[in-house]
Amino acid sequence: RTRILVSIGESFGSSEKFHKINQMVSSSERTLKRGLDMSSAPKPLKRL
């Protein structure tokens, strides 16, 4: 769906693109961890 393309050897801009890539990759890890946390949280008991 989303791909980031970097042309190696560009004198300007590649650092920012790598930074963007790293943010994209690390945000997926956070989403995955959050999903795992939510699924493992115990459900609250209902009040009678």
Partner: protein
């Protein structure tokens, strides 16, 4: 009023382009300083040891690094002619270029974060042409905001 509005739009566009170009100039200055600092360091080290380091212990610029946890499993496919590579990771990774590595090594004298000591600033000044010195002074405390007439 319409012409004023058009000029406002043009003014905004120019301001954005100027900001982007100041950032570009800043990056070029950083790269120059980092590169020269690296070359100087290696020259001094080679003079001290009287020989260059073994060729299999160094990586010449330019390069890119990919780092990931040592527990990561990487599936790598390479074409016969080594023109194409495909890496599949089962964990997150980071990619950085050589300039980022030099900055992290301190070769940019702290200018990349605006935290440059007076000693570092002196070293950085010796590595760039005189015409760029006003920019260096600004970068030492933040980023370039002004454009100086040479």
């Amino acid at each position: 009023a319409q012409e004023c509005q058009n000029l406002e739009v043009e003014r905004q566009r120019k301001l954005e382009r100027i900001k982007q170009k100041q950032s570009q100039l800043q990056e070029l200055i950083l790269q120059q300083i980092a590169f020269k600092n690296l070359v100087q360091r290696n020259r001094q080290q080679e003079q001290q040891t009287s020989r260059p380091p073994p060729s299999n212990s160094v990586i010449h610029l330019p390069f890119i690094i990919v780092n990931t946890s040592k527990k990561t499993v990487i599936d790598c496919s390479i074409s016969n002619d080594k023109f194409e590579y495909l890496f599949n990771f089962d964990n997150t990774f980071e990619i950085h270029d050589d300039i980022e590595v030099l900055k992290r090594m301190g070769m940019a004298c702290g200018l990349e974060s605006g935290k440059c000591s007076p000693e570092d600033l002196k070293i950085a000044r010796s590595l760039i042409p005189k015409a760029l010195e006003p920019y260096l002074t600004e970068m030492a405390h933040g980023s370039i905001n002004n454009v100086y007439v040479p």
